[in-house]
Structure formats: C-alpha cells, structure tokens
C-alpha cells in the first residue's frame, strides 16, 4: 500500500510529547549569559556610552572588522541602508541593540545591562508610512534622499483607454496593521567554541541554517568552514526566523572573541520590540468594470512600511514588490497600472511573515469584488464566477504564469457547502431581531514552491530557490536522507519518509531524515514560503528514484536479472514473476562489502543526490466565514469557517489539514485581533501578550476543510505548497463577512484588524451616534 496519501501520525511527535526534544533554551548549560542593551528611543544620536568598569560589555567600536548587514537588490530604486550589528553613532528604532553584555547567569546579565548608561540626543521619529511620505518628513536614512527606499511600477494593457470604456469605477482604501509573527518560542542562539579546533558551532532558532552561516561568515569575514550552524527543534517561526538577526552574528563574534560559549534567549518584550515585524500595508486601488460586472482594469498605489533596515537575504523590497506583482490574484483581466513603494521609518525591521503581502492584497481584491457585487446587484458568488480565471496555463497582467487550478470549482463547492440562500434567509430573520449576521467569501491563489526561476526576476544578490537532497543506503540497509530544508513543525521528516519509503519499498522506520545542520546536510535555503514539500520533496523524490536505480542494479547483479525485472517491495528486491529475491539489508551489505561479486565497474556503495529547482506552482482555495457582530460592543463572533482547498496531491492529509487550520487562525488573527501599536514617539505599546492578542481556542470555531486535488505537472511529487494559504485567504473572508453583517448600517470595513474599537468607530460615523 502506498504511504503517500495516507494520514500517518508524525514521526516527530514522541520526542516532543515527552519533553525530550531540545529547543534552543535547553542547550544553554555552561554558557555565559548574554543580554543586549537596547535603544529606549525610536530615533536619536548616540552622545556617549558609559560601561561599568571591569565588566564584559561590548559596543560597536569593539567589533573590529565586523561588517554591516547590507542585503542587495539589483534595482536602481533600491537603497541598501547598511545596518551595523550594534548601533553606531545613532539609533533608528526602539529596541535596536546598542551594546552586549556577558555574565554568569541571565539574571546577572540583565542587571549588568541595566548598569550601562547610554546618553541619547533624541531626533524627531518617523513612525508611519503617511508621515514618512510627507514632504516635510525627516529622512530616516539621509543617503537615500527620501524615505522611499524601494519602489516599482507595472503599467500594462492601456489602462486609460480600457478604464474609459468601463461603466463602473470602484475606489477603495485598505490597510493592514503591523503584526508580529509571535512564535511561542522567541528567538535565541547558543555559540560554542571547540577548544581543540577553534571552530564555532552556532545553535540557532532559525528557518535557514545554511543561509545564516553564509551571512554571519560574510559579516565576520571568516571562512564558512570555521562555523557550523545547527537548528535544533524550533518552536515556531512563520517568517520571523528566516532573516539574519544582528544578535546571532554578535553571539558568534563574542564566542570567538572571548573563546567562551555564550547563550542568548530573548524575552517576550524583546521579541515584540526587536524581532522582525510584518504587514503594515496601505493600499489605494481603483477597479473598472464593464456592464456585465467584469473587471477590466485595476489601478493601485501600494505602500508598505518596511521599518528601519532591510532584512537579509530577501531585502525590504519583498513586501511591496510582491504586492505589485501578485495583486491580480485569481482574477482575469489584463489592464493593470500599479505603483508599489517601500517606505523606511523609525520602526522595527520587517521580515516576511506567513502569507507575506498576499493577505493584504487578497483583502483588497476580495473587498473590491464584494463592493462591486453590491453595486451591480449580484451575490458574492456570481461576481466571482464572472471574474475568476478558468483557462490554464494562465498568464496574468503582471506576467506570472498560473498552472492548472480549480478556482471556480473551489468557489462553487464552498457555495454549496455553506448554502448561501438558506444563510440569507437566516440573516434576514436575525436582522428583524436586531442581530447582525454576515457571510464573507475569499477566493485566492497561493504561489508556492518558488525555485530560482520565480525568485530571479526580483534581482536579489542572494537568489534562493533550489533544494538539494543527498541520500545514502548504509550497509545495514537503512536510508539516510540529508536535506537543505529546515522544517520546524511542518512534519517534513514524516512526509519525506513517506515519499522515500514508497519509492524504495521500505518501511518508514528504515528512513532517517537529517536536517538543520550545515555540516551534515547539503547547502539549501531552509523552510519558508510554502516551499518544502514541493522543492525539497521533489528533490527527495528524484534522489530516491536515482537511489532505486542503484539498488536495482545491484539486485540485478545478485539475482542475475535485468534491472527492469526487479521490483522493490516489503524490504526486498524481487525478480518479477519468480520466487527469486534478496533482502534489502543483504543487498546493501553486498554493495559495500562484497563488491567483487557485482558486475565489473559497478560503483561501490549506494548513494544518490538530486537538486530540484522548479518554477513554482499555484495552490488555490475558497474560504467562507460566517460571523455575528454585536453592534453595541463592536465584537465579532465567528460562527463558521469553511475552507475548500486545492493543494494538488496530498502527501499526508493529517498534516495538510493541520497546516490549513493553523494558517486560517493566523489569518483570523490578522483580521480581528493582532496589532503591534506604536505611539507617535515610536514607542511600542504592545510589548506583552496582554496587549498583543493572538487568538485562543475560545475565539476559533471548528474549521471545516474540503479538498480538491488538481494534479500539476509543475511539481514532481504532484504536491502543491500550502503552508501559507490559510493565512492568505482568511482575513478577506472575515472582513467581508463583517462588512456583510453591517451592510444595513452602511458600514464597510477596509482596515484590519477590525477590533471592537474600529468597528464601533465605523458604526458611530455612519449612524452619527444614534447606535
């Protein structure tokens, strides 16, 4: 029986369930404890730093020879903004590291950090995109000439002429607040120096060990062979751990400088003030429709507040430029004029967070569809039916090619599941009783499995995409699979084992997957961007096919059979149609120890390597949210959430549904709850989990998941990625549902999170205080 397609329990779980698994904070024994002295201001000149005498306190001037974080995007409109790992001369955001201290315990390190006196001369902080774009704004990075540090324009399909021919024009302003990915495990790292060799090992909570090694070695100007990076168990990341943190580089420098092992585990406040943030987008869009409610042209001005510094390796271009190229989503139109700008401010640097810009651009397109539906007197299903793409491959206005998907089918299926007509009757009844129910649809594409062909157009100096897998069968018949991806909750050890076991006719227990160690795995890009099952899974499948060829060749020698007559099943190599066969364990032993028995010239051992670098593949889905809004409090209760998802072939349905549900809840959080709030001075007001509000089990309804399976040729396993889809689609579904609920009051929600405060403000504005 095939293991692929089966809901197998995860191999990762027993160690996690028993508390045996080691996370970064479990690896700090014997290390000096590190604490950072951080800027208490958003913008200031450093006048002086006084350190307690005789203590281990280091500032920028001590870090001789250490470079700046300076990711490169080869675009004329991109400004690099070199970021020192410890502040030099000035601070540019609250929480920026200024000094680092080392002590025997964390408690002592924190006491010592408090004893460091930093004299700061405050400057006017620039906090919001709007402020940064004002003519009078102070410029955060004077060398840039303005606060626009990256920008792009796409103008195609004669927008002026086409929009003149349209009958309806709809203009919307939309916004998504700033978020934190807020993994339950904060960032942290341990740097250990080997006394004998002088080599440093950095254990780091990261999604990208190989890239982290490259980045730190470049900064410290040391050969990569002098540093080993290990990602132990990582307690959630969601993008916050996919870029280079200055702190990790400082730890490696400290360990090498002091010849002492050092550890840093950030606290929750640091995570909120100093770990990468995300979102903070503001869009203006204008859609032009023909008389049949078909979208003809889209114009837009997209702004992303990208914070104080550019993140390595993807740069601060990632959010605005992705928004520009992917805004059309699943809709069929060819006239498009959009400008996108990344705006630098005195706020925490940003890193891509699950979904990247797509939760916001999906909000924009799905709000546009709902507003247009109302304008044309159509229901939300019909307007989408008229506008979704349905021919494949489809080339978007921005030049992106979509492989086969089921956009219409997912919509129709979702509409059938929720039974829109009966909901409308229930809604009408409820309104008579003064209750406000609403339904919201969201149809979207999720571009996944980006290889270098998809990343190359961005012109990053560091262009990610491929994955390499090395596979070897050892003399006992076990298979080791060494991958460059770096899973941290996605269950890749299980799913890759399924793929390999199927290919080689072995039980999963014979397969070991090794990841997260630069000295044990081939160079790879790590786990992010819904890529691992597609890219690393594809490379695994290809390597397994090659290893199978080697095994079959040895079997042919041993059994005197033609390779095409050999089948691998049940841990044996068998000659088809005969009773001849050999145990894989005996075969492996022969391949290593009895090579004279094999055909002349047969290479000893059993191993294979494969790299996979796909162009990418699109998953798609339709989400439907049903909500009730309490117009007195502005509170939103989710009554139902339906997902119809098409992620191609499902390798492990149990894991797939887990990814979808988790993603949906992060999307609901974006829609209703989570917001990093800065005041006008650039102080963060949300530095605890009392203020920043990830949803709990009590806010989340059961999530109903249905699957469609479009098998694509764009992925060698047939799997499409799906890690981000939940987060991409859910915000628009929820916000559309809230707007539908408040339709009798004339309220349209265009900003998320739709907190009670915001909803009440919108209701007050529309009802002039009568409600």
């Amino acid at each position: 029986m095939s293991l692929v397609g089966t809901p197998i329990r995860r191999r990762e779980d027993p160690d996690l369930l028993t508390g045996r698994k080691r996370f970064i904070a479990d690896l700090t024994a014997g290390c000096g404890a590190v604490a950072f002295v951080r800027s208490p201001m958003a913008a200031a000149r450093i006048v002086g730093i006084e350190r307690p005498e005789g203590s281990s306190v280091f500032i920028a001037e001590d870090l001789i020879g250490v470079g700046s974080i300076e990711p490169i995007l080869h675009r004329p409109d991109y400004f690099r903004a070199p970021q020192p790992v410890l502040a030099v001369d000035r601070v540019t955001y609250l929480g920026e590291p200024i000094a680092v201290v080392v002590a025997a315990t964390r408690r002592e390190a924190e006491d010592l950090a408090e004893a460091v006196y930093v004299d700061l001369d405050p400057q006017e902080p620039v906090v919001t995109s709007a402020a940064a774009l004002a003519d009078t704004s102070r410029i955060v990075h004077p060398g840039a000439g303005s606060n626009v540090v990256v920008s792009g324009v796409i103008d195609t399909g004669d927008v002026d002429a086409i929009s003149k021919s349209a009958v309806e024009h709809i203009e919307l302003e939309l916004a998504s607040a700033r978020q934190s990915a807020a993994p339950i495990e904060t960032r942290g790292a341990v740097a250990r120096v080997d006394e004998e060799s002088g080599k440093t090992t950095l254990y780091a909570s990261t999604q990208m060990p190989h890239v982290l090694r490259t980045a730190i070695c470049d900064l410290l100007r040391i050969p990569e062979a002098d540093l080993r990076v290990i990602a132990p168990a990582v307690g959630g990341a969601f993008g916050q751990k996919m870029c280079l943190p200055a702190e990790y580089a400082v730890l490696v420098w400290l360990a090498r400088h002091l010849r002492r092992s050092v550890a840093w585990v950030e606290d929750r406040r640091e995570n909120f003030t100093s770990s990468f943030h995300s979102r903070d987008h503001q869009y203006r869009i204008r859609g032009s429709f023909d008389a049949e409610a078909r979208l003809l042209a889209l114009e837009g001005d997209l702004v992303a507040n990208v914070g104080a510094y550019s993140c390595y390796p993807v740069t601060w271009g990632v959010e605005p430029l992705m928004a520009m190229s992917e805004l059309p989503g699943p809709y069929d139109f060819q006239s498009y004029r959009v400008r996108a700008r990344g705006v630098s401010t005195n706020t925490c640097p940003m890193s891509p967070y699950r979904g990247v810009s797509r939760p916001v651009l999906t909000l924009a397109m799905e709000r546009l569809m709902d507003v247009a539906a109302a304008r044309f007197g159509l229901d939300p299903v019909e307007i989408r039916r008229r506008n979704l793409i349905s021919r494949f491959p489809y080339r978007s206005a921005t030049g992106i090619v979509y492989d086969e998907g089921s956009y219409l089918a997912s919509l129709e299926k979702a509409a059938e599941v929720v039974d829109l007509d009966s909901f409308r009757r229930r809604q009408a009844e409820a309104r008579k009783q003064g209750r406000f129910l609403g339904i919201g649809f969201s149809v979207f594409s999720e571009r996944t499995g980006y290889g270098t062909p998809a990343f190359a157009p961005r012109n990053m100096e560091v262009t990610p995409g491929y994955e390499t897998v090395e596979m070897a069968m050892d003399p006992s018949g076990g298979v080791e699979v060494r991958i460059g991806a770096s899973p941290h909750g996605q269950g890749l050890v299980t799913t890759l084992s399924q793929v390999v076991a199927d290919e080689l006719g072995l039980p999963m227990e014979s397969v070991r997957v090794v990841h997260g160690d630069t000295d044990r795995t081939p160079y790879g890009w790590g786990t992010f961007a819904s890529r691992s099952m597609v890219v690393s899974g594809g490379a695994t499948k290809m390597a397994a096919v090659r290893l199978r060829e080697g095994i079959v060749a040895v079997a042919g020698d041993m059994l005197e059979a033609a390779p095409e007559d050999v089948v691998l099943a049940g841990g044996r190599a068998l000659v088809r149609g005969t009773d001849r066969g050999v145990d894989i364990a005996d075969l492996a032993r022969t391949a290593y120890h009895q090579t004279p028995k094999l055909a002349p010239g047969r290479e000893p051992g059993l191993r294979a390597t494969a790299s996979y670098d796909p162009a990418g593949t699109f998953s798609n889905a339709c989400h439907v949210a049903v909500v009730e809004v309490d117009i007195e409090t502005g509170g939103v209760r989710l009554d139902r959430f339906v997902v119809v998802e098409d992620a191609g072939l499902l390798i492990n349905p149990l894991i797939v549904d887990g990814q979808i549900a988790g993603g949906v809840v992060q999307g609901i959080a974006n829609a209703l709850y989570e917001e990093v709030v800065y005041d006008e001075e650039g102080n963060i007001l949300t530095t605890t989990l009392f203020d920043y509000l990830p949803p709990t089990a009590a806010e989340i309804p059961p999530i109903e998941i249905h699957h469609l399976e479009t098998i694509t040729e764009a992925s060698v396993t047939g799997a499409k990625g799906l890690g981000e889809g939940g987060t991409i689609g859910a915000p628009a579904a929820v916000i559309n549902a809230v707007s539908d609920a408040l339709e009798p009051l004339g309220v349209q929600v265009m900003e998320m999170p739709a907190t009670p405060e915001r909803i009440r403000r919108l209701i007050r504005e529309k009802t002039k205080g009568t409600t």
Partner: protein, 152 residues
Amino acid sequence: MKLNVNGVDYSVEVEPRKTLADTLREDCGLTGTHLGCEHGVCGACTIVMDGSPVRSCLLFAVQCEGAAIETVEGLARGGELHPLQQAFWDHHGLQCGFCTPGFLMLAKGALAENPDLTGDALREVLSSNLCRCTGYQNIVRAVEDAAARMRS
C-alpha cells in the same frame, strides 16, 4: 530547599527571586517545561501543582516546597504514553511542539478537576494557553478523545 517533582525529591539551592520554571529547567534538569512569555499569558510553562494546573513562570521556587509538582516528563509511564500524549499524537495536536507540554499539563490538571469537560467549557479551559501552529482544532479533538479514553 527540597522540591518534589514527579514523585522525586530534588535538593536545590535557589535565590528567592528564581521562578519555579527556571528552577525546574536549570536546577532539576527538567527542560520539558517551556517558557514562552514569562508573564503568565502563553501557558507554555504550565505544570500541575497539587493536582491543579498552574503557571510555573508566575511562582517562585521557594513557594513550592512541600507541594506535589508534576511536569511533562512525568506523564509517560514505563515507556507508555499517557492517554493525553497518545491522543495528541493520534490527532496531530502539535506541530512545532513548543507549547505542547503546557497544553498537556493544562489538560491533565483540568480533567483531574472535571473529567467530563467537553465542548465550549473545554474550549474555555484550553483558552488558558496559546498555540501558534495548530489553530487549536486538533488540540480540542485530542483532549476530548483523551478524556473519553480516561473515563472508560
């Protein structure tokens, strides 16, 4: 002072300001209890003390002398998973697994207090802790299933 954890007495010497969570992790070597916020919201550090689920980041070790403390390390017996651990495994109630020990101990304490917890009341109890990966669906399923197994 002495701490009784999972039925074993540990002799530890701690500063008065040291939390129970840090003491368990650093002095008893029981690192299965995790720290996510250190201000009592996320619940990753939840342990069971005298039968009730509590936040070990909000207690000082010196407050816990004489108490019976249970941590995730004490759940499985003789290599056999506790019904809660088994149900979390069966229902894919964990992804990164960082919050999992806290949820297991929360559920253990809550079910000890009310073995019939289900539905909204169960969701309400589970809302004590945060999980960022699972969307809670499978955690709720797992605890309901484990509760049923433990009742039968």
